[in-house]
């Protein structure tokens, strides 16, 4: 550990005197280069700043860009149009089954409750949906923004019915969206970006009407606040 701490301790000395001791990487401290041809302290500082700034840029801006693969949803779907047509708000399609489970994203059969081979509106996206999926009896491979990993048991019933939470308090305001946003998939973990949250630092609670982060710590924080306990593992795991 001490060898790692050494160079950091050396920085101020180096920049001030230009002749501080430098680690040679093996833990031995060697004398700095103090000859007349040595670079000035400013130069060293500049390089430090370039390195610092560059890596910050990479870490904060380039990295998130590279980390997430962007995918578009198979059908351009407008919640606004659909909300106008249905009676029961979100529940009309995203409903609870009698056994208490949550239907989540509707399957083709649910779409067929209203849609038929005849398009109902003018939108070319609907025609695409009819041609590519409905008439072929093919399920739409929706990309689910908030899908939890297979080890998680998330109970919509507990949150929506038990704790009386609204859909948008976690998912953000989808009801007023005219299109579905780009799905961003983590190239390493395979998870949707919504799980980690849009703030790459993992801090903060995201945009006010955007989705809330949904990692385990986020669950635990809210549970601690609302119920006084983070809960036991089996409360949310399976």
């Amino acid at each position: 550990m001490s060898t790692q701490a050494e160079p950091q301790a050396a920085i101020p000395a180096d920049t001030v005197s230009g002749s501080g001791p430098v680690s040679d990487g093996t833990g031995n401290i060697t004398g700095g280069n103090t000859g007349p041809g040595a670079s000035s302290g400013w130069m060293v500082l500049l390089f430090f700043i370039i390195g610092l700034a560059g890596s910050l840029l990479v870490g904060w801006i380039a990295f998130p860009h590279l980390l997430y693969e962007k995918k578009e949803q198979p059908v351009r779907f407008s919640h606004v149009i659909h909300m106008d047509q249905v009676d029961d708000g979100c529940n009309s399609c995203h409903y609870f089954r009698d056994d208490g489970t949550f239907a989540g994203v509707p399957d083709l059969a649910s779409c067929e409750d209203c849609h038929s081979d005849e398009a109902m509106g003018e939108d070319p996206a609907e025609q695409l949906f009819i041609d590519d999926y409905l008439s072929k009896e093919k399920e739409i491979p929706w990309l689910i923004y908030s899908r939890q990993p297979p080890c998680v048991f998330f109970s919509h019933a507990a949150h929506v019915k038990g704790a009386d939470m609204s859909c948008e308090s976690c998912h953000g305001d989808y009801a007023n969206s005219k299109t579905l946003k780009t799905y961003e998939q983590n190239r390493i973990s395979g998870y949707s970006r919504d799980i980690w949250g849009y703030s790459i630092s993992g801090l903060g609670s995201g945009a006010p009407d955007g989705p809330r982060p949904m990692k385990m710590n986020d669950c635990a924080a809210c549970h601690l606040k609302e119920t006084g306990s983070k809960g036991a593992c089996f409360q949310c795991h399976k």
Binding site: G37, S39, M43, V44, F47, F48, G54, F63, I188, G202
Partner: protein
Amino acid sequence: MKIDRRCFLSFGLGVTAGTLFSPLPWKLMDDASIWTQNWSWTPVPEPGEVSEVNTVCTLCPGGCGIRVRKVGKRAVKIEGLSDYPVNHGSICPRGFSGLQYLYGPTRIKSPMKRVGPRGSGKFKKISWDEALATVKDKLQDLRTKDMPHTLACIAGSDRGTVSYLIDRFLTAYGSPNYIRDASSRDADELALYLTQGQDGSMGFDFENTNFILSFGAGLMEGWGAPGRMLNLVGSNVDKTVVQIEPRLSDSAARADKWLAARPGTEGTLALGMGHVIVREGLYNRDFIDNFSFGFEDWSDEAGNTRQGYKALVLNHYAPSHVADITGISAVEIESVARAFAGAAKAVAISGRGQGRASDGVDECLAVLCLNALKGNINRPGGIRAVAEPDYLTWPEMNVDLTASKGRQQPRIDGAGTGAYPNTRYLINRLPAAINSAKGDSPVQALFVTDANPLYTMNDPEAAKKAFSRIPFIVNFSSVMDETAMYSDILLPDHFFLEKTRDVPSPPGVPVPVIGLAKPAVEPLYDTRHLGDTIITLAKSFGGFVETAFPWEDYGTFLEQTLADVWSDLDENGFWIDEKAAPKPWLEAFNTGSRKYEFYPAALANSDGHGYHPKVLEGAASLPGGEKDYPLVLIPYDSIRLSCGILAPSPFMMKIIDDTVLVKNNGLVEINPETAARFGLSEGSGVVLKTPAGRARVRVHLFSGIMPGVVALPHGLGHRAPDKYTNGKGININALINDVSDPVSGMNMAWGIRATLEKV
């Protein structure tokens, strides 16, 4: 201005510091750790809407009601159906593992044609059209040669619509050779016919009895409808159970009393108990005096005096004598006999294990007589003949001359004629009939449905030899088993959970309950309902064969044939024949005397008093000399192993103890005392030799097995391309020779003489 090493170092430090203050390392670490939690090769089952399909299990003849839980279109779990009249929610381990058969690797996925030698397992995928045309051409050829009687069918059952369809096909085609696979039903049915003159299977009203006296039937080992028997244990009704067998089975361990009679002496023990009941006058006088025949001595038409049951047991089966034969003390025999006679309601049952094999008819009759003494026939808590309900309605059929001539030919297995006039099927005599025939095989074409004779028959080598003489074998199995490997054309039936069919009343159930198996999932592969295959095949013949099958497909046929009961069946999933209430004694018996016949008049021509004492005394009738083979090998059944045509599922292989199988080695159970005599200890490798064959096994010391007796389980030693069972353990059927029952001609082998040699 100079850029030197210090600048680079500084740059590096800046990068390090910047990176540490950026999310990059932390996020990467997090993502990488998540990555390690989700290997791509670890499957993630897709969630979906949960639904349930109520249906009937057809993995064995037990016909238990099951619920299939589905997630989306997948079936994920089988559970017991609580409002089903047979099993009331209880099912056996095989039922619970049913999805492993459905989705398992042994399924035959399309019609196949054999391309390698028989048994090599080399098959080529063919189309249904080609497969059916091949079968039709071959069968048509036989008909042209006036040889339709050389077509035989080995079937797992002779009940229910599918069996009738096949039988109807054979009739229209012109063959008398429908052969049912062997089971304990054979002896039971024959005994019922002989004593009561009834056609039907034996029903036991265990639900309402107080005392069960089992002469070896493995009531907890999967006998009858396994779910029903297990449910009875859980039903909290007090019953005394006495289990008689030489091995501490699960049934014996759960029984109130275990009587370890020497193997094969069960019938003698029954007659000994009969002696006590008769001597002490504990029998039901009303029934014996008014509704039975042959209890007292009687005279036949020729005027000869014949010995009745009473004189027989009193003269020959005194407890002290029976004790010598069975090894059960006279005191014990007397006390159990008195308890049986004294119980408010009591029932006695014969048979061995799950009832895969037939017991001797003599033994069956001897035990049946105890029920008669008790007067429990057609009474609550007793036994009754369960006739198959006439729920099937068939249109008339005409046959052509070829068919009619073919039908008049004698059966190949010799059942129903000559020495065995009362026997319906004799599958055990088929191999010899074929192997001993001069010239061409008397069977030129064979159908196999719901049967796996090359595994289940004793002496499978003889059966294989016979099969090799049959030029054309068509198998309708859904899974690749030993017999399918030996077949020429495979026409796979839809499997369990994929099809609609009626399920005939399960063995042992006292009321006829017809179940309706419904598909829980869409057929997975290119298979066809056996009913549809038969109808299509029949239609391709044209003429009278075609007109005998006026239905479009099996579905229409089923609805029309079940006619009146269809709506009940469809709605409830089962139909109970209310008309089948047991008749009062006055009307119950269809024998010549119109009474229950202790001395079956149908057997009057055979010598002696109707029983064969040698048969009843067990070991004496076993093949092999005592000198060369000092031990007796018996098979045992376990509910953890499926002993019938299907190999155990992977889950069942997982629950069998390591005292039954270790790696691929079967373990033979042996009493520590016997082991000491042979110088063997736990795990010793030995060769088990019998007159029928030999096998390498290991020794398991078990004090629950009678000294001098060794035991191997049924259900292991399969030789079919299923890596979970192939080559694991020993197929005990191969170590046992056929023993012909003198009354019926059926195989009544329950064991064989054996010896162990150290290796």
